[in-house]
């Protein structure tokens, strides 16, 4: 237990605001569950509950298919496409 947690364990943010449905077109709302490299953040770091984590994974994958969110960000693409897509 002496090891420091990188992120504080939190309660599910989506349960608190009672989110029933997520829209994949609202990219700004997905930002909470995405890392800097647009990876889906794990549940142990964000504190999301299982139900909402399942919802957000589906929504993020849809947004990736619709080219709203990138699949991968490498060093070269970081320069050309910074965070301007997520507003």
């Amino acid at each position: 237990m002496s090891e420091k947690r990188k992120y504080k364990k939190r309660f599910c943010k989506y349960c608190e605001s009672k989110v029933d449905f997520m829209d994949y077109k609202e990219v700004g709302a997905l930002r909470f569950s995405l890392s800097e490299r647009y990876k889906i953040m794990p549940r142990r770091l964000t504190g999301n509950c299982k139900r909402h984590q399942d919802m957000i994974t589906i929504v993020i994958k849809r947004a990736r298919a619709a080219a709203l969110v990138p699949y991968t960000v490498t060093r070269t693409t970081v320069v050309t496409a910074p965070f301007e897509n997520l507003r």
């Binding site: 077109k25 849809r62 619709a66 080219a67 699949y71």
Partner: protein
């Protein structure tokens, strides 16, 4: 009949008239198969998160409609043949919760389209009024 949503990315190389024509053709494909379009939402040209077929930009268009589930495969097959479409995403709204969300999304999409249309003529009307005053002075 089931509720669906289709996001279509049209090629950015087309002119504005050509995109309108191609979008009309896309919508006709749905209506000709017995689909009822609830609303459409033009998100406009925006940058893609990653290039698709060497295109950096794309024209986003969202269509909310309800149609018999058996027709979806045919519509998707048609979309794949259509060369104007870079990418399409079809989403099914099946459960009660999702249908409620679909209704909300339709309402949301209808509101912004109605308000700018009302505001725009007023803005145009205001300008001639100012001109008339200037001329009168």
């Amino acid at each position: 009949m089931r509720h669906y949503e289709n996001l279509v990315i049209v090629k950015p190389t087309l002119t504005t008239e050509e995109t309108l024509v191609s979008i009309q053709a896309i919508e006709e494909e749905i209506t000709s198969r017995g689909g009822i379009i609830a609303t459409t939402n033009a998100m406009g040209t925006r940058k893609l998160a990653y290039p698709i077929n060497k295109n950096e930009r794309g024209y986003y268009h969202v269509i909310y409609y309800s149609i018999a589930p058996s027709e979806i495969s045919e519509i998707e097959r048609r979309f794949r043949i259509n060369e104007d479409i870079l990418r399409f995403v079809t989403i099914k709204y099946d459960t009660n919760r999702e249908i409620a969300a679909w209704n909300k999304l339709v309402e949301k999409a209808q509101k912004p389209t109605s308000t700018p249309a009302e505001e725009a003529p007023i803005a145009i009307e205001e300008i001639p009024v100012d001109d008339a005053e200037v001329e009168a002075e």
